[in-house]
């Protein structure tokens, strides 16, 4: 479901600076001539299959979910709520919703920047022309992205068990005096979840940065160094600004992925302890399939996620704009 896959992550709308700054400037468009108009129609025809599929298989269910979010009742006994927005009103008093929302934001604030910075640094290291075994490093770091949910949750759960590998190693080396109950405490359970996300997605984002780096003219960096800038400074003041469009793209994608995070919460920590590692999407699933099913309420939750993702995307675009 809400796995932060490529396709589930939100790319950038047209008027985003992402495209604005990177794209080759388009020729000015005069008023449409007849020929132009026919070409435009051909253009619409090109869009048709993809657009129809999206409208049919995403928007139509989305509209139905919107209608559903105005209904109350259990199972199939649904009727329009009185007042219509009562499911949304109800969210304000829902302690579990508040907790899961808070958890999700913690993941967002900690994991997304950390992951993107690590991916950026790794990509920069890999972009060094003198680096040896380049493709080996790249492959190793990307491989986790190919592993499925069940697989990686299982491996992580086994590794972070009380008598698991991680405790054995840390105690063996002497870093820890006694085993840590990783998945049994709020802080460490969230930590393991963030670690899992970093493991799975850093390489994925790195590949995007690596690709972007290859479009940057190395001479700009060399010039900065000749001017006496350290490598770190050259990276920060010369490379990073040029990567901004890609950073924005990955930031928006990851934000969307994290806000819809389900798999890790469900399979890795099972939301525990006491729901303190549960994400909103996991709660949404509980309300729909584990508890006495309340699909009206579940739909309202999903629209809140939608609104937050959209709002954050707008904010990120605005911030991205300003620094230009």
């Amino acid at each position: 479901m809400a796995r932060p896959t490529a396709t589930a992550r939100r790319p950038v709308p047209e008027d985003a600076p992402v495209t604005g700054t990177v794209a080759a400037p388009l020729p000015p468009r005069p008023k449409l001539s007849r020929l132009e108009r026919r070409k435009s129609l051909t253009g619409w025809a090109f869009l048709l299959p993809a657009s129809l599929l999206i409208l049919w298989l995403s928007f139509w269910p989305m509209i139905q979910a919107a209608i559903l979010s105005l209904q109350t009742g259990r199972g199939t006994r649904l009727s329009f709520a009185e007042p219509l927005w009562s499911n949304y009103q109800r969210l304000l008093e829902d302690e579990t919703f508040r907790l899961t929302l808070q958890n999700t934001f913690i993941y967002l604030v900690i994991q997304v920047p950390l992951m993107l910075i690590m991916a950026l640094v790794l990509a920069n290291l890999l972009n060094n022309p003198n680096l040896r075994f380049k493709s080996m490093w790249r492959t190793a770091i990307f491989l986790p992205s190919a592993v499925g949910l069940v697989s990686y949750a299982l491996v992580f759960r086994t590794m972070f068990a009380n008598d698991g590998l991680v405790n054995d190693l840390l105690v063996g080396v002497g870093i820890l005096d006694s085993p840590v109950n990783w998945l049994g405490q709020t802080g460490t359970a969230r930590f393991v979840l963030v670690l899992g996300l970093l493991w799975r997605w850093t390489g994925y984002n790195m590949i995007f940065y690596l690709a972007a780096l290859q479009t940057i003219d190395r001479s700009t960096i060399e010039a900065a160094k000749i001017d006496g800038a350290s490598s770190a400074k050259a990276f920060w003041y010369v490379t990073v600004p040029q990567l901004k469009p890609m950073i924005l793209l990955t930031a928006i994608m990851s934000t969307n992925g994290t806000l819809q995070l389900f798999d890790e919460s469900y399979a890795l920590t099972a939301g525990g302890p006491a729901n303190t590692s549960m994400t909103i999407s996991h709660y949404l699933y509980q309300v729909s399939f584990r508890n006495s099913p309340n699909f009206g309420y579940a739909s309202a939750i999903s629209y809140v996620i939608l609104i937050i993702v959209a709002a954050l995307a707008v904010v990120q675009l605005k911030v991205g704009d300003k620094r230009d």
């Binding site: 302690e95 068990a161 008598d163 049994g184 525990g272 729909s288 584990r290 006495s292 099913p293 699909f295």
Partner: protein
């Protein structure tokens, strides 16, 4: 390169067409009973489609039941579909919610704890068992209660969830105890014994998943109490048995008699690796215990401790278990007859699956057979199976209702918070309000 691109495009152009064709054939396929297999079209073809999980247990039992039923009905076949429980629930919800009950199988297995929730929310999914040849008085009352709504029977009990205390006799011996010392005792006595065993052998008696309500809820049921009253209202606050159960659980952990682990895998690991010397769980746990072949002859079972100072406390309870339901899309007559003849009527069947899979009957007449009273070497030559069926009859009933999972999850959260220092009364009040909130709106 140009050629390959052209091929790709040609493929792209042809595929939608192909899709449309397949779509049509697929459509007619579904219509003719490809989906549920049971549906109207398939009636009278002597095949039943079943959803169940666990090949070594439920599915094995189905295969044996099929053989038994075939003795009288040679043309009969079962189409068994392996579906994990969570997916059964997801599918049922999806089918009911989109009103596509035509895709249901004839029979599906359902967790006892989820039975009422599904019947109450989605009556359209079920066919009742009234008018069938199943004699429900031949099953323990507490088990039948899970699948009974408004005095109408919807399920044939199968997987036995009767709780047992399984103990390592070799460890007990080191501490100077026998199984008898653990039989018909209370939890206070259990803790005292456990502390002594811990002191003498260094081994805790129990292990359990942190944040799981399994053990406290078992204790609760052993006293005939529930998280809900008969009308389905939550009774988490001012619930004497629940308070006692949580207090007991807390003392078990604090005394070190129970070690908490995080996942189910770890819990099983504590048993097979001899980290702990006992466990209290549904009888099905014996399957995992027996996977450690080196421990053969070192285990014994007895009944579970009772809560101290609680009215109606007993030494019997249950955890888990599941029952067969007949869907609204079923060949009802055939499905009823199949279940009545096998799961609710064949000693021969139960005699096969007990040694074959350790699958214990809920059907009381089965326990009269010799197979049930055969001594089990793994358990020191004790006839454990007839013993457990005996326990089953003593288990008090438990009200589940439509909001059982909400109640159980809220209590889990409360227990975790109590273990972290929250005042029990406050934690339970919060659990009560969480459940009340979930039930409103």
């Amino acid at each position: 390169m140009r050629t390959s691109a052209r091929k790709l495009v040609a493929l792209g152009a042809v595929l939608p067409l192909g899709l449309a064709l397949v779509a049509c054939s697929g459509g007619s396929d579904g219509g003719s009973g490809g989906g549920g297999g049971g549906g109207g079209g398939a009636e009278g073809d002597n095949t039943l489609t079943v959803w169940a999980w666990d090949p070594a247990f439920n599915i094995y039992a189905l295969e044996e039941a099929e053989k038994v039923y075939q003795q009288e009905n040679p043309d009969f076949t079962l189409d068994i579909q392996e579906v994990p429980w969570e997916d059964v629930q997801t599918r049922l919800t999806t089918l009911a919610q989109s009103q596509q009950t035509g895709e249901l199988p004839d029979i599906f297995l359902m967790q006892n704890n989820a039975f009422q929730k599904n019947v109450l929310n989605y009556p359209d999914l079920f066919s009742d068992l009234e008018g069938s040849d199943v004699d429900f008085s031949e099953f323990p009352e507490s088990v039948v209660a899970y699948s009974t709504v408004d005095d109408v029977h919807y399920g044939v009990p199968f997987d036995n969830g009767t709780a047992v205390t399984a103990l390592r006799t070799d460890v007990l011996e080191q501490a100077g105890y026998t199984v008898d010392d653990f039989t018909d005792i209370t939890w206070d006595e259990f803790i005292t014994l456990g502390e002594d065993v811990l002191a003498k052998t260094g081994q805790p008696l129990l292990s359990g998943q942190a944040g799981s309500a399994d053990l406290p809820v078992m204790m609760l049921q052993s006293a005939g109490a529930s998280l809900f009253d008969e009308e389905g209202n939550p009774t988490i606050v001012d619930n004497e048995a629940l308070t006692a159960a949580i207090d007991t659980y807390q003392r078990l952990v604090e005394s070190g008699v129970l070690v908490e682990v995080n996942t189910w895998d770890e819990y099983i690991n504590t048993l097979v690796n001899s980290t702990v010397a006992a466990t209290v769980n549904g009888v099905w746990i014996l399957g995992s215990i027996q996977s450690a072949e080196d421990q053969a002859g070192k285990w014994a079972i007895t009944n579970v401790p009772s809560l101290d100072g609680v009215d109606g406390a007993t030494n019997y309870t249950a955890n888990g278990g599941s029952s067969w339901a007949i869907s609204s899309n079923a060949d009802v007559e055939l499905a009823q007859d199949f279940l009545a003849t096998t799961f609710a009527g064949s000693s021969e069947f139960y005699d096969t699956i007990l040694p074959g899979a350790g699958a214990l009957a809920n059907w009381i007449p089965a326990s009269e057979s010799d197979v049930y009273s055969e001594p089990q070497e793994f358990f020191g030559g004790d006839a454990i199976y007839s013993k457990v069926v005996g326990y089953a009859e003593e288990v008090p009933s438990n009200n589940t209702g439509a909001y059982y999972y909400e109640g159980r999850d809220a209590v889990s959260v409360a227990i975790t918070n109590i273990m972290n220092g929250t005042d029990p009364e406050a934690a339970l009040a919060e659990a009560q309000s969480t459940v009340e909130f979930a039930m409103g709106g």
